[in-house]
Amino acid sequence: MTGFRQAQSPDAPTPHPEAPGKRTEQLSMQQALNRALDEVLAENPKAVIFGEDCGRLGGVFRITDGLQAKHGEKRVFDTPLAESGILGMSVGLAMAGFHPIPEVQFDGFAYPAVNQIICQIARMNYRSRGTLPMPITLRVPSFGGIRAPEHHGESLEALFAHVPGLKVVSPSNPHEAYHLLKYAATRPDPVIFMEPKSRYWQKGDVDFGAADAPGAGSPAGAPTGAKVMREGRHLTLIAWGAMVSRCLQVAGLAAEDGIDVEVLDLRWIKPIDADALVASVRKTRRAVVVHEAPLTSGLGAEVAQLVTQGCFDTLKAPVERVTGFDVPYPSGDLEDEYIPNIDRILFGIQRVLEYKRG
């Protein structure tokens, strides 16, 4: 509704060649996502983008900026204000052979669509015995950190990860954003694409030629695995979305104290790349998982349990969770008290490093 940074336009729409080729460009995540969508629309005539305000306005975060003008009102259109309607309509479009790329304006407004997402989108392929696939890529600007009104800073990954039939992914920087969105939006299965809105405007290098560079632990040729963003020997910090860059900052600070932290970007929240988790923690023998969502029944529990299961013999301390609290996401003034900050992550690292048996 009010008060968050959203109105900025991307710098004048960057022209780009039809085939992106092997180039690297500095882009914001907003630009990278916009580029990916533009290419998906160009490459797949069945791809359609719709949601609240994503046509003429280009979305409140401008992720779909210019796409309606370029691809026409049939490919990119505004809907009435009803999230269940948007997702329910996506099911029908998918049944008619389209690849819908709906947007829900903010994380907290995915809740009205949960029934269509869980009972329909996630199950139609199964219910129809594979005859009605659901190639739906649901974009959800996600997570907090922008001093926004209520319901504009939610983390729904644990909810989505628990739903059979969904895949869930979250990029941590512009490069990941471009490649993961292009990948997700060309799959035959439903993918929830969680965009870390606090990172929309940070710039970074996008290597367009790197699409087939395998991430750590992922099968070559497809960006489906987790990714080591920084190597380290003493402890693994595990995160996704907006928390990855914070963890990289923390790793930098820890290095000053001689602590060598590995940072693993989970990328895929479902399916989780358990092999990559285990490979990293078998090496470091210690792990801290970080997320913004509340602690209890958060995805951190799943990550911790996968690590414990796979590294029980070598683990030097129980996996720590540094997370949001079991409280409703607070108003801007208290946001920094809620989201795991550098100090709280450092405390978590310290607890793991100083853990003494019995």
Partner: protein
């Protein structure tokens, strides 16, 4: 509210020919017979449950008969056996859902033009809108038929669907079977204002209320509605007023919420008897025809029962294999340990 002019001046909804009337009767007789049989199968332990559509044969067969399966697509609830039958769907595959073989049924929805059986009340109404909008985007002339009940009309999704469809002029027929009840709750405590068709005006679209026990009226209304949609004029609401003569499902006990007197007065004329009388009056069919229809219905029921009884459980591996188009390592691992642990035993 009660008639809808035809875009082409009449050819889109011609009155049914004598052959068609006889076919409609045969369909309704087959449906009536199979429906009663399914209730019996449940009592005999052949299937665990069933939702009978006794009394709704005219509404279901009349509307399903209007569908052009070469281009239209139908979105049923859990009670549309008569629609499926009128559309020519394989009845063993359809009934398999009530055998608890597979949620949604074993028929191929793409080939049969019937979406999987939907257990969420109002769950698929928005799907019809999306599918229909897809026709517009591709300049096809297919029409979506969304089935819903009087109870379903209370769900928010139905409002969103009607509004979306009207804003986008999507070719959807919202076909409401107002059968007087949503389990134990009567229409007057469910549908404020008393008519779902009357809601259409609020969206600026036509709404038709039709005698749901008169198969000819239902067929005509549905054909008009489909023709309206097909001509690009946007969605239509058709409300077929009928009555759920049986229990909500085989586990329901209507005696707890309605009396036999109420049932008798609410049910109105029996749709099957009514068509029979009409055919007799018009000299379109005779007793021999009715006897033959009855015999065909009985034979059909026997063969469906045979098919259902022969239906084994699906292999457990389908639980894993049908979740995604592209499976995941986690799922493959789970399938492997499931296989191992069930073989072990």
């Amino acid at each position: 509210m009660d008639t809808l002019p035809l875009p082409d001046g009449g050819t889109a909804a011609p009155p049914p020919t004598p052959d068609q009337l006889r076919e409609l009767y045969s369909l309704m007789a087959a449906v009536r017979h199979l429906d009663a049989a399914a209730v019996a199968w449940q009592r005999q332990g052949i299937i665990p449950g069933y939702a009978p559509e006794l009394g709704q044969e005219a509404a279901q067969v009349g509307s399903g008969y209007a569908v052009d399966t070469a281009r239209d697509f139908v979105f049923p609830t859990y009670r549309e056996m008569g629609v499926a039958r009128a559309m020519g769907v394989d009845m063993v595959a359809y009934m398999s859902t009530h055998k608890a073989t597979w949620h949604g049924g074993l028929y191929d929805p793409v080939a049969s033009r019937l979406a999987p059986i939907q257990a969420v009340v109002a769950g698929s109404v928005l799907h019809a809108v999306g599918w229909a909008h897809g026709q517009t985007l591709e300049q096809n002339d297919g029409v979506a038929l969304a089935y819903l009940g009087d109870g379903a009309s209370s769900q928010g999704d139905v409002h969103e669907a009607m509004n979306f469809a009207a804003v986008m002029k999507a070719p959807v027929v919202f076909f409401v079977q107002n059968n007087g009840w949503a389990i134990s709750v009567p229409t007057e405590r469910q549908v404020a204002g008393g008519s779902v068709a009357a809601r259409a005006a609020g969206y600026g679209i036509p709404g038709l209320q039709v005698d749901g026990n008169d198969v000819i009226a239902v067929l005509d209304a549905t054909r008009r509605a489909i023709a309206h949609c097909r001509s690009g004029r946007g969605p239509v609401v058709v409300e077929a007023m009928t009555y759920r003569r049986g229990p909500h499902s085989t586990s329901d006990d209507p005696g707890r919420y309605r009396s036999l007197d109420e049932e008798r007065s609410g049910a109105g004329e029996d749709p099957l008897g009514r068509l029979r009388q009409r055919l007799l009056d018009d000299g379109i069919a005779d007793d021999a025809f009715f006897a033959a229809a009855q015999a065909a219905a009985a034979a059909e029921e026997a063969s469906v029962r045979e098919g259902i009884e022969a239906l084994g459980p699906r292999p457990g591996s389908e639980m894993f294999d049908l979740v995604f188009q592209e499976t995941t390592p986690a799922l493959q691992n789970q399938a492997a340990s499931w296989r191992e642990e069930s073989e072990h035993v």
